[in-house]
């Protein structure tokens, strides 16, 4: 790691001011950032730690309207254990947190950091490779290189995938995020955190320099809402998903009244699929779920080594749907 100045703010306004200095990065748990700094992918002059602001930016709480506020600094371990997430409506979020990384990492990793972690593409994450998204070259090397873990859809000139476990369930729940920049607070739909045109040169999120995520908000859920999360991976633990799916369904008298399907790890951004609409007004059935799974991967264009993601991904969609409607 290169030497840097480490800033420990005492309050949000100090953090806000410090984060807007040149050549400065924000740090939550530091799992992704310290790794990238060790690899010299990032060599900031100043690092602003948000950890001293745990009281303000941490914690999980049920809000007055019944929604749930996740502090940006809430850890994945807290998500895994907190009673506010112990409902069928939030099961998918809890499962996604509990299946992330390892217990040690979940004790440090924060909600905001998980959503904002950089792609795992091995070309992007190695200084040695001159790739477009790494800012070191003209093209995406995975297109013609080793692309077994890369995108099968939703890409243009760069086939990185978005690795966050929490993004698909939070999108399925229609979550919002709050940020602070130059003293101004803004609250937006989570979908706006991710670029609409995720080209090679596009950053992985839409935050302005120095903009601090302060919280995520999960809207109140009807009693009959259910979410679930399923993923495929190569190892039992310690591994990012090769495909992931979060679903949300609302059942009314055995009929599906509302449905959302969001795919993870298959595209440069987490991907809501319009195929979910096929379920509206229908009764849950294996045949219906197969149809939705097939439709969710319509238009997929796998690369030379990742065709398996389409087959496996469909099974993961079915598993998530079956679990949510069981």
């Amino acid at each position: 790691m290169q030497p840097f100045t480490y800033v420990l703010p005492e309050n949000l306004s100090q953090a806000d001011a410090a984060a807007r200095q040149p050549d400065t990065v924000l740090k939550g748990g530091g799992i992704d950032l310290v790794d990238r700094m060790k690899e010299r992918l990032q060599t900031p002059a100043r690092v602003v730690s948000l950890l001293p602001l745990r009281a303000e930016l941490g914690g999980i709480a049920v809000e007055a309207d019944g929604g749930v506020r996740l502090g940006a600094l809430a850890t994945l371990a807290e998500l895994e254990r907190h009673p506010a997430l112990a409902t069928p409506a939030l099961a998918g979020l809890r499962e996604a947190a509990a299946s992330t990384a390892s217990p040690q990492l979940r004790n440090r990793a924060t909600v905001a950091g998980n959503l904002l972690q950089f792609t795992r593409c091995w070309y992007v994450r190695s200084e040695a490779f001159r790739c477009v998204h790494g800012g070191r070259g003209p093209t995406c090397l995975a297109v013609t290189g080793d692309n077994r873990y890369h995108a099968v859809m939703g890409y243009s000139d760069c086939v990185r995938v978005h690795p966050s476990n929490l993004a698909p369930p939070l999108l399925a729940l229609d979550a919002e995020y709050t940020t602070v920049l130059e003293g101004k607070t803004r609250r937006r739909k989570l979908a706006e955190l991710f670029p609409s045109d995720p080209r090679g040169q596009a950053p992985e999120h839409t935050l302005a320099a120095g903009e601090i995520v302060t919280a995520l908000h999960v809207p109140p859920q009807p009693a009959s809402a259910r979410t679930s999360y399923a993923e495929s991976r190569e190892k039992q633990s310690f591994d990012w998903a090769t495909t992931a799916c979060a679903v949300r369904v609302v059942l009314d008298g055995g009929v599906i009244e509302a449905a959302t399907v969001v795919l993870g790890a298959v595209a440069p951004v987490p991907l809501p699929r319009p195929a979910a609409r096929l379920m509206l007004g229908q009764k849950p059935s294996a045949a219906l779920f197969q149809k939705v799974a097939d439709a969710a991967f319509t238009g997929a264009l796998p690369l030379s080594q990742n065709g398996y993601k389409v087959t496996v991904g469909k099974a993961i969609v079915r598993e998530a749907l079956e679990r949510a409607t069981r």
Partner: protein, 201 residues
């Protein structure tokens, strides 16, 4: 609240008094942090003396901002139990308890541990007297090359402390962040079971 800056060695009176992350440091009177009158506390980029609370004792150690907790323990405090294997959060060899929770000390900045209790595997022996969990590891032959063992022990300790009598499934969940290339997992679980049965945490 405005408190006039204290002229002492660059540490403001306010940062001297406040109960923030650097309280442990400030209360020892060390002048590591350079704090502007009403700006945030800053460290670095050079070296600082900080105080860490390791195994119940306050220990002074020189670190840079980029020094990890693991390197501060191993190189600064000669506590070489925690192992530096992948140095990237991907093996669990460096597991210590921070605030009573297992963490990968290779990804924690040493400065982030100021004022928070750190527990390493060295705490589990008082002279020749081993903790029941260590005894169980020996009895169950739960190590081969032993490289992963300090991390395994600390994750096992946290599992026992949090669950009392964990099931095998809970052990698998709690130890999923520790890799052993010698394949000792089954015997580690047996050692946890043995410790739990004897009522030792």
């Amino acid at each position: 609240m405005t408190v006039p800056p204290d002229p002492r060695a660059g540490v403001s009176r306010r940062s001297f008094l406040k109960g923030s992350a650097v309280a442990g440091l400030a209360s020892t009177g060390l002048t590591a942090a350079a704090t502007a009158a009403d700006g945030p506390t800053t460290f670095g980029p050079g070296a600082h003396d900080i105080v860490l609370t390791v195994n119940g004792a306050e220990r002074k150690v020189a670190v840079e901002t980029r020094t990890t907790l693991l390197d501060a323990l191993r190189d600064g405090l000669d506590l070489t139990g925690a192992k530096r294997i992948c140095d990237r959060g991907a093996c669990g060899g460096c597991t210590v308890l921070l605030d009573g929770q297992p963490v990968n000390s290779c990804l924690v900045l040493a400065i982030d541990a100021i004022g928070r209790p750190v527990q390493t595997v060295e705490s589990l022996a008082q002279g020749d007297l081993p903790h029941p969990l260590l005894e169980a590891f020996v009895h169950c032959d739960a190590l081969q090359c032993g490289y992963c063992t300090p991390g395994m022990v600390m994750s096992s300790l946290a599992c026992l402390q949090q669950r009392g009598r964990p099931t095998r499934e809970q052990m698998q969940h709690d130890l999923a962040g520790n890799l052993c290339r010698c394949g000792t997992y089954g015997r580690v679980f047996a050692a946890i079971e043995r410790t739990a049965q004897a009522g030792g945490k």
